[in-house]
């Protein structure tokens, strides 16, 4: 614990989704990088207003799926062909056809594991605490208020300027949050 807590960022409160979206589009155009928007419900078009690129989670599920399929095929090949061969009805000991359904199921299972774990990893979750949770009014983000948070770590962050910018964008209240 330090005696003088460092500043985490600025929390700007908005009353309407429209004002939030316009403000987000402005921050995007200004080139801010470490910032986020919090709304009580999904606001359509916010992704674009924030300039978010499509999520990387898809790659994790794809890799998970490929791993699952390969695991399934290799497992069945090893068990049925090498480890414990049981000849049935003159059929080949290993055939991709009979091995496909279980491999396909493993594809889906590992694919969903990949998606879940990839999402947690990219979101840096789980974590026990977040500076924003200390903010008194932030709980309203799950009720009827809209918040934009600009972090101090952003290269474009300037103490006074950013505050005036957020206020000029229609924020009703801009408050600092400590780390």
């Amino acid at each position: 614990m330090t005696a003088t807590p460092t500043r985490y960022g600025l929390v700007a409160e908005f009353e309407t989704p429209a004002a939030t979206m316009h403000a987000a589009a402005r921050l995007r155009d200004e080139g801010f990088q470490h910032w986020d928007v919090f709304t009580p419900y999904p606001v359509h078009g916010m992704d674009k207003a924030m300039g978010l690129k499509s999520s990387k989670v898809g790659w994790f599920s794809f890799l998970g799926g490929v791993t699952g399929y390969t695991t399934g095929m290799l497992m069945i090949w090893f068990m049925n062909k090498l480890d414990y061969p049981i000849p049935v009805g003159g059929k080949p000991l290993f055939s991709p056809f009979s091995a496909f359904p279980p491999s396909y199921e493993l594809t889906i299972l590992f694919g969903s594991f990949g998606a879940l774990l990839g999402m947690l990893f990219l979101n840096r979750l789980p974590r026990l605490h977040h500076p924003l949770l200390k903010h008194r009014r932030f709980a309203l983000a799950s009720h009827d208020r809209f918040f934009i948070v600009v972090e101090t770590s952003d290269p474009r962050y300037r103490e006074g300027e950013t505050r005036t910018l957020l206020e000029s964008l229609g924020s009703t209240q801009v408050e600092p949050v400590e780390e």
């Binding site: 429209a18 979206m21 499509s54 898809g58």
Partner: protein, 423 residues
């Protein structure tokens, strides 16, 4: 509504540049068909059947898209609904007319029609269906149902263009409700009587679904292609937005997987059971170069489009999607050939037969394209007064202030001011 102010897209589409294409196709195809008919009428019958089933899948797939649009009360597909209605309406009278050569040549195409007596157990077991009169009764029934539903759905849709009445939407929904029950029954009947019956001893409960899956797949690709053409011609620009292409791309991906799932399931069950009366259908299709046609279907019909369409941005990249839509037609041809042609050419895929196939495809394609283009020119290109048109355009109208106590919550009135999504 925005429809009250006519936009350029609302007028008939100027297709002057394309006007000669159908005639050219008909001339070239007609010549090829005539030569084939004179040289080898059996080959002609099979090629004609292939071409007919190819285009029937387009009409039936389009009918499915229309039915789904109404049943799900969708908004995004308002933009493509009129195109689908025109495609579906090709069922009658055009496809019915194109069925006539099959009806005439049926005894030369279908081996079961040449069987005499009731010694064949496979025939007597399917007795009421697999008799000559029933073959024609089934054909009339199929075209009657398709004609009824495609034309009623289109008539109410055109009626709404005129009066904008909610009753039209209700009637279309009612027809869709009944249609979705009859659709799979009639489609399965057609797939069994016209394709599966080439080897009447064979049975597969998935055959109807199989034909359905490939039909919708190729139709979605075709609709994407037509939408792309219209977009690049500057027509329907306001309606054919990113959403429409993304949704069509997603449907194409979904049906790529669905088709592969159905075809694999059919193969897997037959492979696993290993009964001679079922396996012989696939044994025939693994002989000679048919094996490679099967491989083309696995890798070209499934893997290539599947891997290509996995990425979200490819579905919107026209440079990728245009070749993919054309590829879908090629793959659908191979798929139809895989189902029909091994009966005629049991040893190898016949390249000389392919010219006959192409002639039939060209002739029928010319006839149907002409009818489709004529319909597109005759009627507005989209449902002018569809209640979901605004949503499809991405325009949001704030709902009227409800009569609930206003003090309950500060009105989110400005929520209505959601900006138009930048295209």
């Amino acid at each position: 509504m925005s429809a009250s102010a006519p936009t350029p897209a609302a007028g008939p589409l100027d297709l002057a540049r394309w006007r000669n294409l159908p005639l050219g196709l008909m001339a070239v195809g007609g010549l090829g068909c005539l030569v084939t008919l004179l040289v080898n009428s059996r080959q002609f019958g099979f090629s004609w059947l292939l071409g007919f089933m190819f285009y029937l899948s387009l009409a039936l797939g389009a009918l499915f898209l229309v039915l789904m649009h109404h049943l799900f009360d969708a908004s995004w597909s308002v933009a493509i609904r009129r195109l689908c209605e025109h495609l579906a309406a090709l069922c009658f009278p055009w496809l019915a007319l194109l069925f006539v050569p099959i009806a005439l040549l049926a005894p030369r195409i279908y081996p079961w029609m040449r069987e005499t007596g009731t010694t064949d157990h496979f025939l007597s077991a399917k007795a009421p269906l697999f008799t000559r009169p029933m073959f024609y009764v089934v054909a009339v029934f199929c075209f009657w149902i398709w004609g009824l539903f495609t034309h009623r759905l289109r008539r109410w849709s055109l009626q709404q263009d005129a009066d904008g009445a909610a009753r039209c939407t209700q009637m279309m929904r009612r027809y869709s409700g009944g249609g979705v029950v009859l659709y799979p029954i009639v489609l399965t009947l057609a797939a069994i009587m016209w394709v599966k019956a080439l080897q009447h001893q064979w049975f597969s409960t998935m055959y109807g679904v199989y034909y359905f899956a490939e039909s919708v797949w190729v139709t979605v690709a075709t609709v994407y292609f037509i939408a792309l053409l219209l977009k690049s011609a500057g027509k329907l620009d306001a309606l054919l937005q990113e959403t429409q292409f993304y949704m069509l791309g997603s449907l194409l991906l979904a049906f790529t997987v669905f088709y592969a799932y159905i075809h694999f399931a059919q193969y897997f069950i037959i492979w696993n059971a290993n009964l001679p009366e079922e396996t012989y259908w696939y044994v025939l299709r693994e002989r000679g170069s048919w094996w490679y046609v099967g491989m083309i279907i696995i890798f070209g019909h499934f893997f290539l489009p599947f891997l290509a369409l996995l990425r979200i941005d490819v579905k919107l990249k026209f440079a990728c999607m245009l070749p993919l839509c054309l590829w879908a037609w090629l793959m659908h041809y191979f798929d139809m050939a895989f189902n029909i042609m091994p009966v005629l050419h049991p040893n190898n895929f016949s390249f000389t037969g392919m010219w006959a196939d192409l002639s039939c495809l060209a002739l029928m394609g010319g006839v149907l394209l002409r009818a489709f283009v004529r319909d597109c020119g005759r009627y507005p290109l989209y449902p002018l007064k569809d209640p979901r048109l605004g949503e499809c355009l991405g325009v949001y109208h704030a709902p009227a202030v409800a009569s609930t106590p206003a003090s309950a919550a500060p009105p989110l009135g400005t929520a209505g001011a959601k900006p138009k999504t930048a295209s």
